[in-house]
Amino acid sequence: MISWAHALPSLTAAFLASLVEFVEALTVVLAVGTVRGWRPALFGTGLALGVLALLVLALGPALTRIPLDDVQLGVGILLLLFGLRWLRKAILRAAGVIALHDETAAYEGEAAQLRSLSAARNARWDAVAIGASFKIVMLEGIEVVFIVIAVGAAGGLLVPAGIGAGAALLVVVLLGLVLHRPLAKVPENALKFVVGVLLAAFGTFWLGEGLGADWPGADWSLLGLIAWFLLVALAAVRLCRARRSGALAGAD
């Protein structure tokens, strides 16, 4: 029996991380649907979801055959690299070093590109539109599959992680159906910041387990790891802001 206290961090991490990925996918699918038509946009989306489902069905049972220590080590290092990459980018964005991700601009850019591609388009088969929606759902979907496996598999929490990702998909699809425009008001960088902290903490925890490290308080040390990476990330934002201000003042 999985307790809520045990499952909640995995569920939250999977929900927030998947939310960011689905928002990005929705932007492109909306652009494809609006510019080239909804039939190819939804066909490409469905095709990608089918391939992703096959991937999960193939990988899921295979993972259970690998010894737990090896899964923890492998998943831990990949999750750590994934989390550090997100967190580093979110830090640099929060400090104003690199530009914030803008869903409206991404939508307009994608729509303009799709309009300029006048490749053979007929009512039945618009390869450009199908390809564009397939590619984005596949790319963002692979990230979601990895996140669910990574935050769930090593601790036997695949179900809560899957529920988190499924809830995020539901939220984004419903908002997309209601609003019919990119979800530009979602605080994407703040979400990425939080998700980066969570994934880096999870990755470090599983990596440590795989390496044989002894965590004080066992699973509860995950909360300490989250607090540590949050502290480091906030300090990094301050440091980067100060460095950037100094560099800009020196350039004047």
Binding site: I77, R88, A95, L207, P216, L231, L239, A247
Partner: protein, 72 residues
């Protein structure tokens, strides 16, 4: 071929944005996991050093990146 290359590039890009951060994290994990036990460091201290090192690595990498991007 082009599509496979794109997918592979995207897959690698999922985990590695800045090569030095990724390489540093992997090396530090290897030192903590296999190097420190050889020196007789306890498993509890190994956990603490792993966490401390990864945090400092992220801090230093972000600091360096902010200087690099600002000068561009």
């Amino acid at each position: 071929m082009g599509a496979i290359k794109t997918i592979l590039r995207e897959l690698v890009g999922l985990f590695i944005d800045d090569g030095s951060l990724a390489a540093g994290a992997v090396m530090w994990a290897a030192i903590c996991g296999w190097g420190l036990p050889l020196l007789g460091v306890s498993a509890r201290a190994e956990a603490a050093l792993l966490v401390l090192g990864l945090g400092l690595l992220l801090l230093e990498n972000s600091r360096r990146a902010s200087g690099r991007v600002s000068r561009d």
